[in-house]
Symmetry: C2
Subunit: 145 residues, 2 copies
DNA sequence: TTATACCCCGGTTATCCACTGGGGTATAAG
DNA sequence: CTTATACCCCAGTGGATAACCGGGGTATAA
């Protein structure tokens, strides 16, 4: 029940890509890493995961980099977090039948809690976060004056 | 975002204590461990944590064991899980200010998701789970006939 | 052709989880 | 008072994962 460093890095990178989405130009790992103080070689792996999941698209060679594969208002936080946190193997039904009755009841309640959290993450898109960031920046600016 | 083995063991033990709450007699680690197939020496540590958190009370010596410190309908799952999962050091406000604006926005959304999950866990008490278990057992029994 | 920037794979250190074990201490029963 | 019981504290181990670092390969624009 904790936001891993991994997920936060990935979201930060996605937000950076969202900010540059309108330009049409790809963003490079070094730029994202420098902007958000993320170790670049590590970020590279996370972006590779996002690419394999189909959330971003990459361009190799000179003038290469990353762009969002879809519009930022069509990518939810749930999608982003799930794909880097790895939802593949153990979830839902598999490996959950050989338990006691108590185990089943506990598991069902836990599922309900997890779904509640997922619902929150699903209602926010990358665009929403970018908007919130802009609003926050505006606030900070006014406070500075 | 995953139910750890630790938490599940603790909840199973608490449910066992809930079932024997009316008898007034303390339950021993060996009994709980045998009933739910939990390694007993490991369960011992979890119960020690629950005791330090004030959720269960222990009696040492012969005829000793554990009892719930409060009535089972006054102990929520959120309490139980939080105390064994360790909510102590890093949460809420500490260590979260030296971040970028993006980091803050991400953190706030995450908090909202976590609170949604917590709300679900808070509305269920140990008694609720025990009742659900009984209902489930009844169903299984009828199915068996 | 060459510089660029992604791609793949493997290693390292630290941390945590699930679990085991040894020895100590309080308590009820005889 | 002794003794068996059952909790108490602390320390260690194997495996898994997280967060990184680094080397070398490959595609692409200039």
């Amino acid at each position: 029940m904790e936001l891993s460093c991994k997920s936060e890095y990935a979201l930060l990178a996605l937000l950076e890509l969202t900010a540059h989405f309108n330009s049409g130009e790809p963003l490079q790992i070094r730029q994202i890493a420098a902007e958000q103080s993320i170790p670049d070689r590590y970020l590279e792996q996370l972006l590779a995961t996002l690419r394999r999941a189909g959330l971003v698209r990459s361009q190799r060679g000179a003038k290469g980099g990353y762009v969002l594969a879809r519009e930022p208002w069509k990518i939810t936080l749930l999608e982003a977090i799930n794909c880097i946190e790895g939802l593949d193997s153990q979830s839902s039904d598999a490996g959950r039948e050989a338990k006691s009755v108590e185990g089943m009841v506990i598991w069902e309640v836990w599922q309900e809690a997890r779904q509640a959290a997922d619902a929150v993450l699903q209602k926010y898109t990358l665009q929403d976060l970018a908007d919130q960031r802009d609003a926050r920046r505006q606030l900070d600016f006014m406070y500075y004056i």
